[in-house]
């Protein structure tokens, strides 16, 4: 591959993969109250 093509390809892959990983990492850290979990103390 030419250097130019490699730079463009890796930049594109890096941007979208980086954004995706960041988003899902933040989602996992975010408040779990958004999931439909039963209130504390409720029996399942």
């Amino acid at each position: 591959m030419s250097t130019g093509a490699l730079i463009f390809m890796l930049s594109a892959y890096g941007f979208v993969l980086g954004l995706t990983i960041w988003c899902f990492a933040r989602l996992m850290k975010a408040d779990p109250a958004h999931e439909h979990l039963p209130p504390p103390g409720t029996s399942l």
Binding site: M1, S2, G4, A5, L6, I7, F8, M9, S11, A12, Y13, F15, V16, L17, L19, T20, W22, C23, F24, R26, L27, A30, D31, H34, E35, H36
Partner: protein
């Protein structure tokens, strides 16, 4: 309309919501359209306007549509007419929103037909119907399927059978409801799609070097090819195209199609959000997931595989012939040539068309949702009755697409509803949500329950840049494409009558939907008066 509403169904989990939203966005275009657009618009340099459009149009529109949808959903509206009225209290608002039911319904009908091809080719891959065919034979196989003449491996009735089956699966899924149907499909279909695509990308990129005979300047030459040459071909920057307005518009268009914005289906899904549900991060995650499917997986599959077996000139010729040739002619030929024989070829074909089918169906069930919601909420129909009504309509009109496919019937719907109409709806909703509703209200609505706070820069983008981008896009497309397309420029004379008939059917659907909106509002007014 009342600002209070009966409780509506809600998403079962956040991951289900994001997978359903991403499933809506990830479609056939991620794997068939994107690589062609990149190759034809400057390769690596195409990625510059592409990502700029992603940041300035794609992501902002995703937030706008989630905002419009949730705002409407909180007031009992699952489709765009009611959503528009909830942000602009004007009698015209609901009629402008007709586009948010019209376009997804129209696209659903012809998209189901294209989706049925992927199901058919999954079947053909397993039965070996395309095994051993050369390029001309493969093209004839596709052509005979499209023009219903029948051929080796399939009879003339087969396209109808696969269309009925595809439509039945779609209606069955949406009739099951939000969590038991759509969300469950996304939770199953999206992982399968990503697994199949990842396996195929690894297989394609490990193909190694091949020696092929190809025509260079009309002279047969033996050349060495590899998948890396394909990636090089796709990403080599052509700086002469970076200031070409067509390239910037093509990039913005691709972002539009790939994220499924301007359709009405994202809003319908977002209407099932709770007031406290996050939209900032989840919307961004939806965009990012789609881009991973498009750039990393879609961009590493078809073009590298085709270049390996047909060379650069072959890939250019196939790309120019269109996305269907790339997916349904070139890729089966690639699978026929894979080392490992018939079983490996059949398995690769099964995975390729299987992933296209899941990409298609997770989008088409989203397209059915606005019309379903409209019928349920406006006329009190249950989900099963709404599904059957839409299924029956899609069945009848889908037959027209199958019968008149080669006469351009489908192309008309694809252009006016599936291409040009998207920009019109996106522009209208942006103006209403940002300018009429007000930038501060819009910003507050998007951040309600937000897991992240967006940089202020995006408020400026949403208020000024995105609308400006859309206005330029619409003006450009109107001048360069819509007017010539309307005048039937370059259309074969034997297609003109069918194409006008196709437009007539579309217009009839639009008029009927406008009338249904009028009826629905009159019905609500009567009920409100009686109460």
């Amino acid at each position: 309309m009342s600002d209070t509403a009966a409780p509506r169904e809600q998403w079962g989990s956040r991951i289900g919501l994001i997978l359903a939203m991403a499933g809506n966005a990830v479609g056939l275009g991620n794997f068939l359209r994107f690589p062609r657009q990149a190759v034809m618009n400057g390769g690596g340099t195409f990625m510059i306007p592409y990502f700029i459009a992603f940041l300035l149009v794609g992501i902002p529109l995703m937030w706008i549509e989630w905002g419009v949808g949730r705002h409407g959903g909180q007031r009992g509206h699952g489709s765009v007419p009611g959503m528009f009225e909830s942000i602009w209290n004007h009698p015209v608002a609901k009629y402008l929103g007709v586009l948010g039911i019209f376009m997804p319904l129209v696209v659903l009908i012809y998209y189901c037909y294209i989706e049925s091809w992927t199901l058919a080719w999954t079947f053909f891959s397993v039965t070996g119907a395309t095994r051993g065919l050369e390029q001309q034979g493969m093209q004839q196989f596709l052509a005979s399927y499209q023009d219903l003449t029948g051929g080796a491996g399939h009879a003339a009735w087969v396209p109808f059978a696969f269309f009925f089956l595809t439509l039945f699966i779609n209606i069955w899924v949406v009739s099951k409801g939000l969590t038991a149907g759509i969300e469950k499909l996304a939770k199953i279909g999206m992982p399968i799609l990503f697994i199949f695509a990842t396996i195929l990308v690894i297989r394609v990129l490990t193909l190694g070097e091949h020696t092929i005979t190809t025509m260079v300047d009309g002279v047969a030459q033996t050349v060495t090819t590899s998948p890396w040459q394909g990636l090089n071909f796709m990403y080599s920057p052509d700086w002469s195209k970076i200031w070409d307005a067509k390239v910037w518009l093509a990039a913005a268009g691709q972002i539009f199609f790939t994220l499924s914005v301007g359709m009405g289906s994202l809003q319908a899904y977002a209407s099932y959000l709770k007031k406290t549900d996050d939209m900032t991060l989840s919307g961004l995650a939806t965009c990012a997931t789609n881009e991973t499917a498009e750039v990393v997986l879609g961009g590493s599959l078809a073009i590298p595989a085709v270049v390996t077996f047909f060379g650069i000139s072959g890939a250019i010729a196939i790309s120019k012939a269109g996305g269907y040739d790339l997916g349904f002619v070139a890729m089966p030929l690639v699978f026929n040539n894979l080392p490992g024989g018939a079983i490996v070829g059949a398995l690769a074909g099964f995975m390729w068309f299987g992933l296209l089918f899941f990409a298609g169906i997770t989008s088409s069930v989203a397209m059915a949702t606005p019309a379903m919601s409209f019928l349920e909420e406006s006329f009190g129909w249950n989900r099963r009755k709404s599904g059957l009504a839409i299924g029956a309509l899609a069945l009848v009109l889908g037959l027209l697409h199958i019968i008149f496919y080669t006469k351009g019937f489908l192309d008309e719907w694809d252009y006016w509803a599936g291409t040009f109409g998207l920009v019109i709806l996106a522009l209208i909703e942006t103006v209403l949500f940002v300018w009429v509703f007000g930038p501060d209200n819009m910003w507050r609505e998007i951040h309600e329950g937000g897991a992240i706070r967006l940089p202020k820069f995006f408020k400026f983008v949403l208020t000024y840049v995105t609308p400006a981008y859309l206005i330029v896009m619409m003006a450009w497309w109107t001048w360069t494409e819509a007017i010539p397309t309307f005048k039937m420029a370059g259309i074969a004379p034997d297609q003109v009558t069918t194409r006008w008939a196709s437009r007539g059917v579309m217009l009839l659907i639009l008029v009927v939907q406008l009338y249904l909106i009028k009826l629905a509002w009159a019905r609500r007014a009567r009920r409100k008066g009686a109460a």
